[in-house]
Subunit: 435 residues, 2 copies
Amino acid sequence: MAESIIHRLNADAEGFDAELDALLAWEAVSDAAVANAVESIVEAVKTRGDDAVLDYTRQFDGSTASSLSELELPTARLQQALDAIDSELKAALEHAAERIRQYHAHQKQESWSYAEADGTVLGQQIRPLDRAGLYVPGGKAAYPSSVLMNAIPAKVAGVPELIMVSPTPGGKLNEVVLAAAAIAGVDRFFAIGGAQAVAALAYGTETIPRVDKIVGPGNIYVATAKRQVFGQVGLDMIAGPSEILVVCDGKTDPDWIAMDLFSQAEHDEDAQSILISPDPAFLDAVEQSLERLLPTLERAAIAGVSLRERGALVQVADMDAAVELVNRIAPEHLELSVESPQALLPNIRHAGAIFMGRYTPEALGDYCAGPNHVLPTSGTSRFSSPLGVYDFQKRSSLIQCSAEASALGHTASVLARSESLTAHARSAELRWPRK
Amino acid sequence: MAESIIHRLNADAEGFDAELDALLAWEAVSDAAVANAVESIVEAVKTRGDDAVLDYTRQFDGSTASSLSELELPTARLQQALDAIDSELKAALEHAAERIRQYHAHQKQESWSYAEADGTVLGQQIRPLDRAGLYVPGGKAAYPSSVLMNAIPAKVAGVPELIMVSPTPGGKLNEVVLAAAAIAGVDRFFAIGGAQAVAALAYGTETIPRVDKIVGPGNIYVATAKRQVFGQVGLDMIAGPSEILVVCDGKTDPDWIAMDLFSQAEHDEDAQSILISPDPAFLDAVEQSLERLLPTLERAAIAGVSLRERGALVQVADMDAAVELVNRIAPEHLELSVESPQALLPNIRHAGAIFMGRYTPEALGDYCAGPNHVLPTSGTSRFSSPLGVYDFQKRSSLIQCSAEASALGHTASVLARSESLTAHARSAELRWPRK
């Protein structure tokens, strides 16, 4: 029997749970050699600053710079890249940036407070971070869209200084990435990368300012360095492979659905594409579309492995069973290719982003619909959210009591004494002596 | 020269920056032996479930239970504890809980969406987590106030199932902790603790359901276990020692300020208390108060070490210099014991909680003012926020486009092709063919 292009499962078949679990299982490779190498790099940057970053950049990226400041690109250089790129591409980047900006403006949170009868004021002061760092991979994973998606929420939050780093092996700059940085309002750009760039942003060096939070994807060295500086600096999530879960009632063009599955599978061989439908004939039709279209893809080799290893077409009894499966999988991307997606929404508990209706391919959300494409993977949408403006704001509680707050003072005193924290109790009792 | 009770610094003196850095420096001890022990425990619980949790609970807590279900306390038992405690203490807990609930209700976020002219709908669906786990330490660090502060935001968020775990060495239950759990609405209570309890919550066992997020403080084993299950489950921050920074204009009773410093110092020997004032005579007066009052404290031994090792009275030129220092330190607790604290507020960029005016000792915020007492420590208020309702909610992006969204389709297609992700481009082009 020829190996099939994708797994076929039936949710009502015996052994389905175990089969699905095996398909979903994914654990990040943790490599002791990488961890040790990264540890030395982080330590060197922490103690030797600029010199260490420069040494590693010469070593790993073949840089010939003699000081770190030579690796900073002036913002005029970013603007120059924007002015020079193809005009249709420039218009597309600007269209996307404007929509991302508009959508994210809805996420900005404002300080709030309220007063009580005795004059007590309570609330939260909400402020942007002082400084954020954006890591952008070099080489084939350098996506201009990621620059927009990571940088714009920081700027909407009001972060005054956004510092971007990106490795440039052999000094080769990606002009579209620079153009996206110009559009997004990146304030400073350093052509450095790897664990050394993460460490420089986390601890600061003579040339590179310490940031409060580092966002953006990276390879295993970058991800490991992020784990090691956790606590010293804020971090976004550490992403696993990308996934899409499509739920279809069987009435969307099977070629459209096949291409949506491919659009995830083409990312990399670990990516995961799953289709759920109550209609077995539709699953057959999509399987045929996949077979027919795969050879026409530019990235057929990658998509083919991804589908064969991690993809699945799953038959379910009905839409209720489909929704139950959605909540169990907690997908990064959920496409509801059905007649009335709004009707399913109240029952969807877990998903990073929900693409509703037949005319919302995931690609729109990846680039330009407005919402962020940085989303929780590997089932973490159970407890995590898309990257947003809220990730670049933080809150301080506000508490102001008056001489009239004796009832509060009394309660604090009773509770503190029950916990044997008597200096706590006495700090209240000094102000409001017990009667 | 007799050793002084607390460091005295002057922000304008030579060497101040280095002195302050040394005082603030704190790094969590990471212990390879602990990490290895925790790794075996987590692995055992992951693979052997109930049996492993029971074995460790018998071994570490001296339990004689023969099944894990024996270690679950029915909610009636929590209510029974509440009915039996001292009535003044019960009233104080209920007063605190009600205020915490009211304040946190202001933090609850609602789903939002908007429609565009061509029918595109964008927004975010905001939902509570399905299930949260609350770790409460046993022994001397078992604080009923922490039960309220961790559990109430989860319940305000609408988390349907809140599972509390707490070790009970020798089977000894803390009745006030149980009473607080009853008030806070904890749904299930297991008398287990340590790394085995964290692992059970993260992975689930036959008896203990898997949760989506684990919150609450714990010892080095608990903190290490939390780091190890990071990614599998959501986590709150991992806290360092508690700190207070008081800014005073010199016109508050020095005994009040001394007691506020003690209320932090009595927590543990690593706790940090710092006072900043432009008035050197006031700093002298507070130092005298500290010396006079220290011997009267129940926890004088702990507070004495904390003040001597990590405490400081810092003279600054003026209030602007004080605010600058606040932003540099980014304290967990900031007390603005001045005439017009509101005037300073716009310039305060980093603090976990801000206590304003002479009648707002930190103890009010620890117990009953309403805001949360779980706050970012060790300078992490630069990028982190107090624990809140938002920590128990998560967001899904919503995107619904129509057949009229050809402009979006075109932009997605152009950008996807520029990134060589042609299946992405074609998923848009199939719906909106290029002209």
